[in-house]
Amino acid sequence: MKLLNRAISGTMESSDIMVEIIPWDKDLEINLKSDVKEQFGKKIIALVKKIIDENGIEKACINLNDKGALDFVIKARVKTALYRSSKGGSDE
């Protein structure tokens, strides 16, 4: 998969996560904001990294703003952001 532009998915509502993907030339960087970062931060980042790896992405900046999302929501939001970025749309 090739990222074409900045893309966002998700909301700031409870049980959701907002994912921003910015293609860049540097190595992968994942930044997380979450009320439960201390307890679940490593797990959330590992899950996001796994999806990014599966899609063969090595260079991108991923910003996550978590509002208590379950794993299936995190997966869906990351996949949506990747899809939007690769389609070249949704540059908000």
């Binding site: 998915s9 998700g10 509502e13 409870s14 049980s15 959701d16 999302a69 379950l70 794993d71 299936f72 929501v73 997966k75 869906a76 939001r77 996949k79 949506t80 899809y83 939007r84």
Partner: protein
């Protein structure tokens, strides 16, 4: 007995907070919506969200249904592609007007099942009928595919199409409801009624549920978990109905044991349809 479908609870496919624990309300079916409740901008994200939910959340054996966008929209094909892969129990077609509408979706499902290595015929379908043309074609729609588990009426679009609006009495829907119900029964599939949008009017809701139950419907699409209890209550036989049914089955048993050809109970003849109804009452009572 056949699968209970008294309540089919809508959940917008774009709302993680609702999707994650909707099963706690114990509807008979959960219907994830990709169509009217999802904005055009979020059609793609709803697809991913529902797909991941279906593959990762344990819905405790509750039937899962996904309402896709029509194939006449730019979203329908992609919805089908992702949903057949995610495997809800049933895919619900909106705004079905002809048997060909069902057959067209089925053709794509057959191809996708083959592509994904899913057992042929596993993906079931149901069709929502929401126009005068659909109502007039209800019979051919109901018999158009072995995958169809039921047909449902979508009243809001239908009443607009026939140039009227919904009333508390529901006279404007009587023809369509009866037409759908008879088509479903003739095809041996479920008949599901439309939503009742005023979630604050529980009295009006109960009256409508009693009405559609008396017409013969299997259940109703609902938009709020608060409506579940009323539907299940209305569809649960009363103690009196249960006791009457037990008496009927007892009379049958005694007649069979004594080799009597004619069966009567309290002066009334008991025949096959009465026995069938009594069995249904007992089954429903056991579930509740």
């Amino acid at each position: 007995m056949s699968k209970l479908r008294r309540t089919m609870l809508y959940v917008p496919g774009s709302k993680p907070s609702m999707i994650k624990d909707i099963y706690i309300y114990k509807p008979d079916s959960i219907m994830f919506d990709l169509e009217d409740s999802v904005s055009l901008k979020e059609k793609d994200s709803a697809r991913f969200l529902v797909s991941e939910a279906l593959q990762n959340v344990d819905y405790r054996g509750i039937e899962t249904v996904v309402r896709i966008n029509g194939l006449d929209t730019e979203f329908g094909q992609e919805d089908l592609k992702m949903m057949v892969k995610a495997q809800p129990n049933v895919i619900r077609l909106p705004k079905t007007e002809t048997a060909e509408d069902v057959e067209e979706v089925e053709r794509i499902i057959v191809e996708l099942e083959e592509e994904y290595g899913i057992e042929k015929g596993k993906t079931k379908m149901m069709a929502a009928i929401e126009s005068a043309t659909g109502v007039m074609n209800a019979m051919s729609i109901a018999k158009s595919s072995n995958r169809l588990i039921g047909i449902a009426i979508g009243a809001e679009d239908y009443v607009t199409n026939i140039k009227t609006k919904r009333t508390p009495e529901g006279t404007e829907l009587l023809f369509a409801r009866c037409q759908l119900l008879n088509a479903a029964r003739s095809a041996g599939i479920a008949a599901l009624d439309t939503v009742y949008s005023d979630v604050e009017n529980m009295e009006g809701f109960r009256k409508e549920v009693e009405h559609i139950k008396s017409l013969g419907f299997d259940g109703k699409s609902i938009i709020n978990p608060r409506q579940i209890e009323i539907v299940h209550e209305v569809f649960t036989p009363t103690v009196e109905e249960y006791e009457d049914a037990l008496q009927v089955l007892d009379a049958i048993k005694r007649a069979e044991e004594s080799g009597s050809g004619v069966i009567s109970l309290n002066g009334k003849m008991i025949d096959k349809p009465i026995v069938e109804r009594a069995r249904r009452v007992i089954e429903l009572s056991k579930i509740n």
